[in-house]
């Protein structure tokens, strides 16, 4: 038996209907993505896969994803008005549906986001009950839930990097819940995804950023905060 449910899983969560996997989960995928992007996008190409491909409109997942891209939380009553809010915020969007993508989870969304000259691609899965998995970021395997505090570090693939990063985090007495590394070819770029039980201090983040072999660092505090 996994972790025990809370009383407020039984009486809760407070959420926007109709269903946790089609609204809450979708909002959370979008909010995680804008944390990676660094703000609300100017442009978004939103691809719904598999089961989502046919049902996203009926379940309002299109409104939910735009709401999340505009940084609305899962219980924000304005999600219903996301089309208007997107217009007000100058967010341009396109929806696309792709079925039969057998490598993906049934409820998968791909986001291609642009903000200024920054472009990112995020693939997220809505696993039910509002739980999500961010499967990929810019082609790297990420696999994090965004429920805890997450650190994404793209760095040169040098030896000792993993040990070094974990020792820096350990100095803050922060517990690492999960850590994964994926790379695109040997001695090329490696992507470290670290989920931690508690947050990091800004100074630690700055220090990691300043390391010469660290190319990019993204810090995502608990997205429900």
């Amino acid at each position: 038996m996994g972790t025990k449910s809370s009383v407020f899983d039984m009486i809760g969560p407070v959420m926007i209907g109709p269903s946790s996997s089609h609204t809450a989960g979708v909002v959370r995928i979008a909010r995680s993505s804008i944390k990676i992007l660094g703000g609300i996008p100017d442009e978004a190409l939103i691809t719904f896969y598999n089961s989502f491909a046919r049902t996203y409109e009926g379940h309002g997942s299109d409104l939910a994803i735009l709401g999340g891209l505009l940084d609305m939380k899962t219980d924000d009553a304005n999600i219903k008005k996301s089309f208007e809010k997107a217009k007000e915020n100058g967010l341009k969007y396109t929806f696309k549906s792709i079925g039969n993508a057998s490598v993906y989870h049934p409820n998968t969304i791909k986001l291609n986001l642009t903000r200024g000259d920054r472009k990112i691609e995020v693939i997220g899965e809505s696993l039910g009950g509002g739980i999500i998995n961010i499967a990929e970021v810019d082609g790297f395997h990420a696999n994090f839930s965004a429920q805890s505090h997450t650190l994404i570090i793209k760095a040169q693939d040098i030896s000792g990097a993993i040990a070094f990063i974990s020792s820096v985090i350990a100095q803050e007495k922060t517990n690492i819940a999960t850590m994964s590394v994926s790379r695109k070819g040997k001695h090329d770029l490696a992507c470290h995804v670290i989920e931690m039980d508690s947050g990091l201090q800004p100074i630690t983040i700055e220090y990691l950023k300043s390391l010469p072999w660290v190319k990019e660092l993204i810090y995502i505090p608990d997205i429900d905060l």
Partner: protein, 302 residues
Amino acid sequence: MSYLFESFIGWKSYCEEKNMALYESVIEYEVTQKGKSESDIWKNLDKAYQVMKEAVETGLKDDMSSRSGMINNGAKKVYNHSQAVLSPEFQKLISRALAAKEVNSCMGRVVAAPTAGASGILPGTLYTLQEIHQLSDQKIFEGLLVGAGIALIIEQKASLAGAVGGCQAETGSAAAMASGAIVFCLGGSVDQIFNAVAITIQCMLGLVCDPVAGLVEVPCVVRNASAAAIAYSSAQISLAGVGAVIPVDECVEAMGEIGANMETKYKETALGGLAATLTGQEISKRVLIQDIEILPDEELPE
């Protein structure tokens, strides 16, 4: 160590031993297992009940039409209808359960209790109970805690998800929570509370999950109303001291057994039951997106 909500019989003997009310053991569980403070728990219950009441009121006031067109302000029509089939209270109960659930279907704010699909049942029943019996908010919060304890046990012994156990797991569990809460709020004994849960489950057993077009609209909305009515009928039976014969733990086990043996097409897949009817399929064709690029079987992205 707090009680871990493994069975109703265990819950009862734990509370007797510790000389605790049912709801107190639920608070103890949340404090010791989840590290919450008691004051936060009351605050969260207050928030949840506020949202529930707002959902009822919004559903009776604002426009509630869904994009599919299947939901079209039904709660308001019921609330304002000139003919009451039983009593004005019954009419209000039914319309309130419909209202909160319509809010859920129309992308409004609700409390998933225990799930989003069943989010009209506790609001409809408790709102009406408080109004008729002039109960304090505190009493309702305690009733919600009793309901949460009931759901924790059902979750462990059976399931709360339509995709796992069919609709009996969603609307059935919510009705069981509501019925137990009603009996508690009206001063029933622990046995009477659990008996109400048992009777409710007996009434809801076997219900399949067959949402038309896969949307949480038909039959979900009307099932929230009928589940609210069943919660009251079970409470009425139980408060009079009429027993369920089959003990509550065994009723929950039966629900788990039925859920485990239910075919996948009756578990939220929209492949069976109402979803598979001629009209159900027509609606599905109309509301589901047809402009979709289907990848060939072999060619995988990446």
